[in-house]
Amino acid sequence: MTDQRDDDLLERLRRANPVPAGATAGRRLTADADALFADIVRERIPPRPHRRRAVLIAVAIALLLLAALAAFFLRREADPKQPASAACYSAADIHARRVIFGVAGNDPRTACAEQWRLGNIGSGPLPDFAVCVLPNGLQAVFPGESGSTCDRLGLKIAGSGRRDESTFSFDLGLKIHQQCFDEAGARVLVREQLVANGLANWEVLVRHDRPFGRKFPCADVSIDIPARTVTIVAIPDPFASVPPG
């Protein structure tokens, strides 16, 4: 009943349509409609929105890449591994007197040692140097042992961090096993490697309970990093041919 009344009402609404179907029939055939069509299609169709979006995305990616590249090179400029200058301190104290000098890619320890020799920063025998990184990124060379000095000052170790000791162990192990060194030769080699790795204050010992001789002609080493000692040990010649049987 209600549905029928609703249908009747809708039918009445349909009849009351102010612009019934067909009332506008034929408008498309008028000159106005033709002129409008011609005007519209004269305008060039813009590219697909998603193509524009793709272009925008490509531009955004290119900008991001450029920004990443710029950031990379800026970081590289500021990388303490390749500093333009360094500070040489007169004592293992961040408030001690210091000299700033250019390093131009050289080892700052060498440059600092030169300052010491000239008497510009300190006096007396040449100490070991520790290279740390100040909070502002500048390399700082302090007199003292490489690892502990930076730690004590609350600074990062420059370059490859704590690799000084490990590099030393690796290099020394490699070199001493290349040939048969006698005691004197081994001492020279160990001392060279210690200096090269900024560990000149380490102690070099020789194990005396097994002296070098015909039975034990070659040197090997035992490295104790916490004790900062290198012990030279006599061993049989590893390069000698083993007699058959």
């Binding site: 609703d6 009402l9 009332a23």
Partner: protein
């Protein structure tokens, strides 16, 4: 100038234009626009369609619905920019009888009832009864599902009935 590559798009657009122009004109006139205003709204509608012709649905029924959807948004834009049309719903009744040559000579009170319905109900009834769009087409025009259209139309019919009974006093439909 339209180049060769756009030639097929012109053909597509022409087919759409030929198929829908008369109905779109009626669609706009029914929303209370004068003949002069209707020409402008129709022109804006087809200009928008031409710029987006690459997005035209393949299905012709949906393509037609898309035309009415664009016309609806064009009308909404015009109304937003012309505040004098803010009370259009209330003027719907008299407007149609001034501008439309095909309107009945004696105004039906059903038009008054329609004009007093909420905009959403009124639009549903207009799209269904006057513009003769299917549920699927209405869904495309207003941007909702077919189920939602069915529900809204049901509510609109009930609202029309309630409003009519309230005005006429439930004395019947004649």
């Amino acid at each position: 100038m339209v180049d060769q590559a756009d030639g097929h798009l012109v053909q597509q657009f022409k087919a759409l234009y030929d198929r829908t122009y008369d109905r779109v004109s009626a669609f706009v006139l029914r929303r209370g626009f004068s003949e002069h205003e209707t020409r402008d709204v129709v022109a804006d509608t087809y200009m928008t369609l031409w710029r987006r012709i690459r997005d035209l649905p393949d299905d012709s029924t949906l393509a037609d619905a898309w035309v009415f959807g664009v016309a609806r948004r064009t009308i909404a834009n015009v109304r937003r920019s012309e505040k004098r049309r803010g009370r259009l719903a209330e003027r719907l009744f008299e407007q149609h009888h001034v501008d439309s040559p095909s309107a009945p000579e004696v105004p039906d009170r059903i038009l008054q009832v329609l004009a007093e319905l909420p905009r959403r109900d009124r639009e549903m009834l207009q799209l269904s009864v006057w513009d003769e769009l299917t549920h699927a087409q209405i869904a495309h025009v207003v941007g909702c599902s077919e189920n939602a259209v069915a529900v809204r139309l049901h509510r609109a019919r009930k609202a029309l009935r309630r409003q009519y009974d309230a005005q006429i006093g439930g004395r019947g439909t004649s």
